[in-house]
């Protein structure tokens, strides 16, 4: 039996500023290289929201892009919440990470409501947090990448971060946390994209999706020589 997964890519047109497409490509290839068929379903504002998704990805956008998708995202808040709460593995980066939280407060004090799946709040900061970043997660080990955001995200008490910042700013540049973990969902500021150089994250998402669909999430190992080489080289770059 050929196993197959449907990967829902949220708003690829507006929310794909920093190579987010690379995350989806990584999921697709790492499925294919294991003989698993991966169907990428792009969801744009106004489309019929698919009820079935085995894995969800959403990226970051420019301010203008975010304003285009905000209303549509609200319309689908319920559907997304039930998928995430039901354990559908989900990765949200930067802009959609923020909008999966309660709200984004702009410089002018305007409140842009999120969909509140994650118990986090984001406030526009004075300076952009930009540069190479290295974090450590008890679950996934070292995570490396690049961040570029002005929003500062704060987690409610008791909400689990994705990782501790080793070098860089992370959620807000203050409390040493990066990203959020909830059920099988990961929210993060790592773009660049995050999955190719951190294949453990990619395999976590694929494994959880297979487990939910087929009751068996064990993945055969792949040759990750290039992934590990790029990971090491990234970890060594100055901020």
């Amino acid at each position: 039996m050929t196993r197959e997964l449907t990967i829902l890519h949220l708003y690829p047109r507006e929310m794909n500023l920093y190579g987010d497409h690379g995350n989806v490509l990584t999921l697709k290839r790492r499925c294919e290289w294991r003989g698993i068929k991966a169907n990428i379903e792009a969801y744009e504002p106004g489309d019929k929201f698919p009820c079935e998704a085995d894995l969800i990805f959403g990226g970051g956008g420019q301010d203008s892009g975010q304003s285009v998708i905000e209303d549509d995202l609200q319309k689908n808040a319920q559907a997304l919440r039930s998928l995430v709460d039901g354990g559908t593995p989900t990765l949200v980066i930067c802009g959609l990470y923020q909008l999966f939280g309660r709200f984004f407060k702009t410089h002018e004090g305007e409140i842009i409501p999120g969909i509140g799946i994650l118990d986090i709040e984001t406030i526009a900061g004075d300076k952009r947090l930009i540069g190479n970043i290295v974090c450590e997660s008890s679950e996934f080990g070292e995570i490396v990448g690049y961040e570029n955001h002005s929003g500062q995200t704060f987690l409610d008490k008791g909400v689990e971060p994705l990782a501790k910042v080793v070098r860089g700013a992370g959620n807000n540049g203050k409390d040493g946390t990066e990203g959020t973990r909830y059920k099988n969902t990961i929210g993060s500021y790592f773009h660049g994209p995050v999955l190719p150089k951190n294949p453990r994250l990619a395999d976590f998402l694929i494994g959880k999706a297979l487990d939910a669909k087929y009751g068996f999430g064990e993945l055969e190992p792949l040759d990750d020589t290039f992934e590990n080489m790029a990971h090491r080289s990234s970890a060594e770059q100055p901020r």
């Binding site: 047109r13 794909n16 500023l17 920093y18 190579g19 987010d20 497409h21 690379g22 490509l25 990584t26 290839r29 420019q62 301010d63 203008s64 952009r128 930009i130 540069g131 190479n132 690049y146 570029n148 002005s150 773009h191 660049g192 994209p193 190719p196 150089k197 290039f226 992934e227 080489m229 790029a230 090491r232 080289s233 990234s234 770059q237």
Partner: protein, 435 residues
Amino acid sequence: MGLTDIQIYKQNRCQVIYNSRMPKKSSVVIGKLVRRIARLRGGGSALPGLVVEKIDKGFISDCLNRLPLGVAVVSGTNGKTTTTKIVVELLESQGLKVFTNRTGSNFMRGVIAALIESVDLNGRLDADIAVLELDEAHAVKFVQAVAPRYCLLLNVMRDQLDRFGEIDHTARLLADVVDATTGTVVVNREDRRLTALKADSKIIYFGLSAGLIGEFPEDDELLDQNTEKQPSGLPADVILSQIHGDTAEFIIDGRKASAPLSLKGSYNIFNSAAALALVRQILPDAETDSLICGLADIQSAFGRGESFVVNGQSLELFLVKNPSGFQLALNSFGSDGHDVMIAINDNYADGRDMSWLWNVDFSGLRSVQMVSGIRGADMALRLKYDEVPVDNPVEPDLAAAAQKFYGLSDRPKRIFATYTAMLDIRKALKGRSIL
């Protein structure tokens, strides 16, 4: 036969009344002195610019405001260097003396350094017009000091987001440049972010025909190049209508004109349409035939598809800086019949953020023979996910990689490199007397 603008202008050249002030002599002398010392020490070309910028804020405007035909600024994400080179050479072919920042140091300090080199000891610049290449951020600073008479805006693409933050922000920077322009603004009508800019001054467009527009994907379409595109309906003074082999056909003011070009690659040829549109504004009476003739001989700029033949083996160099530029280079110059090397650095001048590599579609490459640079590992990984084989181990050292690559086979070769990687590769190949 009536006199053309150029002839009238040349007759009057000596009578031009200079009503702006001369640059301070002390700044000129100090600048030239610093330049000499810096050169003796084998140092950088920007130092005299830095010193004069500090001691004399008015230097740049004092020098440039005196030019009889004013200043033309060329800005945008891709094609500035090539387009500026074409504009300068076209104007020179029409008999003008042109001041430009030829070194490609497209920021204020670079312009000041170039001025110090060119002015005489009295601070006089022997030129009719200045044509300056400025990146979006420096163009904004520049127009605060000197209001350009012309500006030419090529495109707004994802580039150096670690510096500029967002593409929309880059477009806003260009809006300031448009506002400061006193004469004519020349704009690529096929770039939606540019045509959205409002201008009080006169706007002239250049563009593409329906047949060619598909070859120029906008940023958001790089990974989905099948989308049907139509040219903008705005009236264009110069349209690039067809490319057949080496010959390009333009529609200029509604009339067809074609010429064999030395420039290669559809994007370089589109730059020449941009240059023609600007030059036609500066010299409205220049004859189309003579401009087209002038265009035929213009060679590619540094690293923009420059080609060399060494021991009967051809080597082409492509500078890649952002996803759209890389994609256009790959679309025009792929791996067919060639060995390919890709070298990626992440120094400040290259852009620190590697995410842009994931916005380029590499799947058209059959294989890549060599991958190098500080971020060579990132590049190799990117190719893996487009299932493009990399034939040799990643060699981060550029000199070693270039040397190895050159000795691989006697097939013609293409090297795609980011800015600082390109500098190192050229140095290595020169050291080995290959270039």
